[in-house]
Symmetry: C2
Subunit: 321 residues, 2 copies
């Protein structure tokens, strides 16, 4: 076992941090690290927190982390900010947050700026969460900005999904029905001291009524994360949800979903690399040029590249044997 | 050639719209459609418009479309809204916009809500843009909300990238340096009638000075898209950029980049499907379970699945022949 893995499994924060950097930067050691930590992961309660900008997700995550600390649990936070190329706000916020928790070794915060990575934001987030999990954190919270597809991918790696709203978004509840109701396990109306919180909660509840009766009906909670109001109830609901998952088989299902998402990503990267010939796609240069020049369509090109790969691997001619 | 392709190549709007739906829904015919339109694409000037929420991208895109129409060019607009699960705003805006252009057959507007699609928002956007291109639109404008990774992927399919800012975001210019300067071909400070526009433009320009001298230095333009101020200059700059690309070889490079992005996507989907055994991953069920139960790590599982695939295809044993 790699020394860095031994150390991070023993709870060494510097080794954990270093392993995250290696994974984020897609260094060669990353694969071996992820291989070795895998058997030690799958224990933490991984919680996803998502919602539109401005609803106070970061503050809520902080308050929830503090609440979990109060019960003695250790916490890891992964803050994903896919919008950082424009706002940059999360990075600054993260530094402030880091300072807040810096004296408590029970909280480990990591922000991810994975824009442009080949592996994708979802793969990197899943890997960093798994490192926290393997390092012995009881609770891993993944916080993302509400930006569509990446969220849905990221949420494949979590056991409980919290969707955070705030008063004043009430008119948009109609739109929410489209996609979020299916992935939310707990709804939180944060900033509940503002006007309209009760109405937002009611709107969410009546939208939920339209859902087919399910074994777990997502509760709608009110919080004021700055004062901590409602955060204890949120933690209790999350523990209820965890118990429900473990009782009803959902826990294994979610681990399987996460495993499959990870395997799909590994497979896609591995195969595209092998077929295309490394990062530079040197083997496929002629095909890329032919497709760009409209002399060949990309599906035919993909078929030919796969055929050439199979022949390199000893197949191709022998398909009928 | 499919009848729907014949019709859309001839400029039939209903066939174009129907083809887009088939592609968006990943229907079986989509592959054949995309195959057949490919040779007819690669002619339009595909322009990407991105920037943070609230800077007036949609209004600017409308004004730019109207400006191109004034010169007699036909226009297709693809509005990508990865944040729609939360805001829903784009859909409504799109309907209003549709009504505005509804009497002008020279403008075709399509909004994409691709959240959760396996192929990804970038692949669907590229395909819809290609359909517009093949249908004979001179200009195809892709509008996206600024949300990180998806943007960077989407921008692989465009020839010119416009990054839109607005006054008041000035403090965040530092953050912009990180990622956007590299992809922008033209900067627009929209809402230039508000205070601070000149300062935002200056900040952008001095950030640009930090870039290594390049053959094309992105201009910084001021627009007020509601009144149309500066939009003619924007169109002229885009035409200059197009001429620059064609003169300096950038046009072929960008077509190749788009071809490669499309091929990578097709390859990844094809191979993962073949290795995993279709959408249900029935062949890989045991491996998924073993990984979820931590009896096997996902890299070993991926290796074994690829090996089994190669053996099915006639390779494997014969690798050394």
């Amino acid at each position: 076992m790699l020394e860095i893995v031994q150390k991070l499994l023993a709870g060494d924060r510097r080794a954990l941090s270093r392993a995250m950097s290696l994974v984020e930067d897609e260094e060669p050691e990353a694969r071996q690290i992820m291989r070795e930590v895998h058997p030690e992961s799958g224990k933490a309660h991984v919680i996803g927190v998502t919602g539109p900008p401005g609803v106070g997700k970061s503050t809520l995550v902080d308050a929830l982390a503090a609440e979990y600390r109060r019960t003695g649990a250790t916490v890891g936070i992964v803050a994903v900010d896919p919008s950082s190329p424009f706002t940059g706000g999360a990075l600054l916020g993260d530094r402030i947050r880091m300072q807040r928790h810096t004296l408590d070794p029970g909280v480990f915060v990591r922000s991810l700026a994975t824009r442009g990575k080949t592996g994708g934001i979802s793969a990197a987030t899943g890997a960093v969460a798994k490192l926290l999990d393997a390092s012995g954190r009881d609770i891993v919270i993944i916080e993302t900005v509400g930006a569509g597809q990446s969220e849905v991918e990221i949420m494949k790696h979590v056991a409980s999904v919290i969707v955070v709203m705030a008063p004043g978004l009430g008119d948009d509840i109609q739109a929410i029905k489209a996609g979020i109701l299916e992935i939310a396990d707990v709804f939180v109306v944060n900033k509940a001291d503002l006007d309209g919180a009760a109405r937002t909660a009611r709107d969410l509840e009546s939208a939920l009524d339209l859902r087919a009766a399910a074994a777990w009906v997502p509760p709608v909670l009110l919080t004021v994360s700055r004062s901590g109001e409602g955060v204890k109830e949120l933690r209790e609901k999350l523990e209820e949800h965890l118990a429900f998952l473990k009782r009803e088989g959902g826990w294994e299902q979610r681990l399987a979903r996460s495993a499959r998402a990870e395997m799909e990503d590994i497979l896609a990267r591995k195969l595209v690399r092998e077929v295309g010939g490394g990062d530079s796609w040197q083997r496929a240069q002629d095909h890329v040029k032919a497709v760009a020049a409209r002399e060949m369509d990309p599906y035919t090109a993909a078929d030919e590249l796969v055929q050439a790969y199979l022949e390199r691997m000893g197949a191709g001619r022998g398909r009928d044997r």
